[in-house]
């Protein structure tokens, strides 16, 4: 187990290093820079433009800029986000918790409901609950998150006005409200984006949970447990489920990047200003320091989550350890 942890961490570090370096290299080939939008095409004299670029080091050769960026990173300096007129660190300090909240709530809800649906389907295998949930989860897997988001927004948000369609909190003198009311308001705004992501996760988890459980239910020890008089639910929950968990957790680890990708669109549709929306806007504004830092942070989160899922899966099912 220890060796697996070390190997996984080393691999994660290598992946992060390669991704960030590639982003830096790619940006060198991209047209424009953070000042293109505000300086080009205006009547600001060329000398002033050059001075602004020199002040932020954009006149240096790419190699030196990269070394400087790494050096600053080592000192905890992420630079200045010109498009938002504040430091990169403060932009990310605002954005990261919002995304972690959104994805975290979606993962927990989605995983719980997915596992429950899978259990229910196997308990009533080939009867109507299985077929109904099977059809629903197929729809959930087939419908991209952002389409589900649009539908939810159209009906639950815009037409029936049950939930707010955008933003983090209500307009007006929200800050004067008592703390619990502000928290409720925040959750109410979280409901649609997190609910949509959660449904999408739940559908995927349920399909894999059902398949894994059906596989385990064929095993001899399940028949032994049944023969000894353990009830159908108890066999499923206490004997089959633990052994059917590992593939589902491993799947979640593998699905992490696409979950984050889906979250980007959800953030964009629902105006949830997290990491995805920040990165999206930074790309359009060519805000290099912000792009690099946001990419670095998202990659760290994705890679860490994947490594964690791998280790969790190994903890649930140590049989796979010998193979790796």
């Amino acid at each position: 187990m220890k060796r697996l942890v070390v190997a996984r961490l080393l691999q994660a570090a290598a992946v992060i290093a390669v991704v960030v370096t590639s982003v830096f290299v790619l940006l060198q080939f991209a047209p424009g820079d953070p000042f293109a939008a505000s300086l080009e095409g205006t009547d600001i004299p060329p000398g002033v433009r050059a001075e602004w670029r020199a002040r932020y080091g954009f006149d240096l050769p790419p190699g030196e800029r990269f070394v400087r960026w790494i050096g600053a990173l080592a000192h905890g300096q992420l630079g200045y986000a010109a498009s938002q007129r504040r430091t990169v660190a403060s932009v990310l300090a605002d954005a990261l918790p919002r995304t972690l909240l959104l994805v975290g709530v979606a993962l927990i809800l989605g995983f719980t409901f997915g596992v429950l649906a899978g259990l229910l389907q196997v308990r009533h295998h080939r009867r109507w609950p299985d077929r109904l949930l099977g059809a629903l989860t197929l729809g959930g897997v087939a419908m991209p998150e952002f389409l589900l988001g649009l539908l939810a927004m159209t009906w639950l948000g815009a037409r029936w006005r049950l939930f707010p369609v955008a933003g983090l909190a209500s307009e007006g003198d929200v800050n004067a409200w008592p703390l619990w009311e502000r928290a409720l308001d925040h959750l109410w705004h979280l409901a649609l984006p997190a609910g949509v992501l959660a449904l999408s996760v739940a559908a995927r988890v349920a399909r894999h949970q059902r398949a894994a459980l059906l596989g385990v239910m064929q095993e001899d020890y399940i028949r032994t447990a049944r023969a000894k008089g353990v009830g159908a639910w108890d066999v499923l929950r206490r004997h089959a489920l633990p052994n059917a968990m590992a593939p589902v957790i491993a799947l979640l680890g593998l699905a992490m990047p696409s979950l984050v990708g889906g979250a980007v669109l959800i953030e964009k549709i629902f105006g949830w200003p997290g990491m995805g929306l920040t990165l999206f806007d930074a790309l359009l504004a060519r805000d290099y320091p912000l792009i690099l830092a946001a990419t670095l942070l998202s990659t760290v989160v994705v890679v860490a989550a994947r490594a964690l899922a791998d280790l969790l899966a190994a903890a649930f099912d140590p049989r796979g350890l010998r193979a790796t």
Binding site: Q11, V15, V18, V19, V23, L26, L27, F29, A30, P31, L138, G139, V141, A142, M143, P144, F146, L147, L150, L151, M153, T154, G157, A158, R159, L254, P257, S258, V260, G261, G262, V264, L265, K268, I269, G276, L279, F280, L283, L284, R286, I291, S298, T299, V302, V303, R306
Partner: protein, 281 residues
């Protein structure tokens, strides 16, 4: 072997439904210029027919420029599916070639391909594609297909590599080597046909992954550009009128979801049919 798999698929009701849905979608995409009732960019009456609800004349309604939504969906299928199928073919080819190279050559080539796959798998594909397009500017549909295909070969390469390494251990490969067949002859005549079923499944799954990507890109304005219709940018046009014009959202969503669902079901049933072929005889 292929005909047995086909037989199993035809005996499978879910697979039949999926094949019919996909077949109809492809046929509609190919025939769209002739069966679409209107020109997809034709604006008959931008004032009187603005956001008109579904009617006999416009069965799926009209958009904000009074353009016929049915015609836009039909012609949009051409671009959306064309991009998706192009990307699928490219990713299947690239994935098979790189996976085979890794398995057959081994050594540092294997290490390099595997490392590249591991790294790219850690990056959200949607984010990667959005980043590339946002940085370098909007692409023509052909380049879009190349970009989506060029980022979609990872799982295929993984599957091909694993399956080929498994096949290499079997006696018939040893026999071929003993008969003096070269490495590349073995790859071409024995290993590639052996992985063909898995590649087919992976390709159908790749199609199911590319359709939403294209839709998402066009939806955020980075994919197929107006006035060309695609499933994604019909939604983009509709997203401003959620409360007034449900037909601009519901029909594209239904078409996209139906296509992806059919591809997912087909991949699943195909996998079962192939597995039955191997173990059941």
């Amino acid at each position: 072997m292929a005909s047995r798999t086909w037989q199993r698929l035809r005996d499978d009701r879910a697979a039949r439904v999926a094949i019919v849905i996909l077949g109809c979608t492809v046929a509609v995409a190919l025939l769209s210029p002739w069966i679409a009732p209107f020109d997809p960019t034709f604006q008959p009456d931008p004032v009187g027919l603005r956001l008109a609800a579904p009617s006999w004349r416009h069965p799926l309604g009209t958009d904000v420029f009074s353009r016929d939504v049915l015609s836009r969906l039909l012609v949009g299928a051409r671009l959306s599916l064309g991009v998706a199928v192009g990307a699928m073919l490219l990713s299947a080819t690239l994935g098979t070639a790189l996976g085979a190279l890794a398995a057959v050559v081994g050594g540092w080539v294997d290490w390099l391909v595997s490392a590249l796959v591991d790294i790219l798998l850690a990056v959200p594909r949607l984010l990667l594609v959005v980043a590339l397009v946002a940085t370098f500017g909007a692409l023509s549909p052909v380049w879009l297909a190349l970009l989506l295909g060029g980022t979609g070969w990872l799982t295929t390469a993984r599957i091909v590599r694993a399956e080929m390494r498994d096949q290499q251990q079997r006696e018939y490969i040893l026999a071929a080597r003993a008969l003096g067949a070269s490495r590349w002859r073995i790859t071409w005549r024995h290993l590639l046909p052996a992985v063909a079923p898995q590649v087919t499944v992976a390709a159908v799954l790749a199609l199911a992954a590319v359709v939403p990507l294209e839709a998402a890109l066009s939806f955020v304005g980075l994919g197929v550009q107006a006035p060309l219709p695609s499933w994604g940018n019909i939604l983009l046009d509709g997203s401003d009128y959620l409360t007034t014009a449900w037909w601009l959202v519901v029909f594209p969503v239904a078409v996209i979801t139906g296509t992806i669902g059919a591809a997912l079901v087909l991949a699943d049933r195909l996998r079962t049919a192939i597995a039955g072929q191997e173990y059941g005889r």
